[in-house]
Symmetry: C2
Subunit: 146 residues, 2 copies
DNA sequence: GCTTGTTGGTTACAAAAGCAACTTTTACCA
DNA sequence: TGGTAAAAGTTGCTTTTGTAACCAACAAGC
């Protein structure tokens, strides 16, 4: 055999933890609003950081632009999001939350906060701090503090 | 807006970290052996934990059985894996690594070990210990120490 | 002005994942 | 012993993702 352990191999471990922890939350936005993860992310970025274009979300969330494009279409279909032209550059479309989208966002942020509290409930505050810090470094958030 | 921060929300953070950290490694098994992540995982389980059936891998890796089924087919195609009948239960097929598969496994374990060392290079050993421990708990590895 | 390159975004096609139905074999139990 | 349920795997179909090509608008250089 070998003594290499999958259960301490970071890419695997992170992936399993990510899958496990997002299960409960993804069920909520899926069941309650028929959204996909990509849609939730776009919704979130608009709700949290204000109006922006697809490519800004692209850069912030490190999602591919085709995913964004499709997520935006779906959110427009649901009347959660609308786009308006940028005055200066007719290629750019500035995206905004519509009232429906804002309501969904507010609702889901509440769910997310509770979910996050539950997840970290059995972690000490010291552990939590180290965990978040390490994860942010691994995710590269320290390099791109956009 | 809202003061909820995506960059500390565990499901998101874990997902970004997982994506970021697995990028380099997945390129290796993809380019070098034309494997998918599912195939690497099956290969790994057989190489590390010895011969087993699809459903055992299923349970250990928490992967859906159709993914395993297809990954096994692909690995058989590559002559990395072969299945033999279990004597006692003709439904079960016990999977084994073939020499080619063993070589690929050995090679990839080396790559994985180096990759993991690189990833944790800027973490103190204390941080690393807390990180691994928290992730294992979040992934549920403490509950199913199979 | 023209031409070349770049950026924002969409679309078409191929690969992969998810889900449900199905086959075969085994286990249980009245 | 027969009948129902459950487990191991596979297959077909749908949804989602990935990739590359593409269009339109802008920018820069000459």
């Amino acid at each position: 055999m070998s003594d290499f352990d999958l259960r301490t191999f970071l890419p695997y471990l992170l992936n399993q933890a990510a899958e496990e922890t997002s299960l409960g939350f993804s069920r909520v936005y899926k069941d309650r609003y028929g959204m996909l993860r990509t849609e939730w992310r776009v919704l979130f970025h608009l709700g949290r950081y204000g109006d922006m274009t697809a490519s800004e979300i692209c850069r912030l969330a490190k999602m591919h632009k085709t995913k964004i494009s499709r997520a935006v279409s779906a959110l427009e279909e649901k009347r959660f999001v609308a786009g308006r032209e940028s005055g200066t550059d007719r290629r750019r479309e500035i995206l905004t939350l519509l009232p429906q989208g804002r309501r969904a966002f507010d609702d889901l942020v509440g769910v997310a906060e509770r979910h996050d509290r539950d997840l970290t409930a059995n972690l000490s505050s010291g552990e939590r701090a180290v965990l978040i810090d390490c994860l942010q470094r691994l995710a590269g958030f320290d390099k791109f503090p956009d």
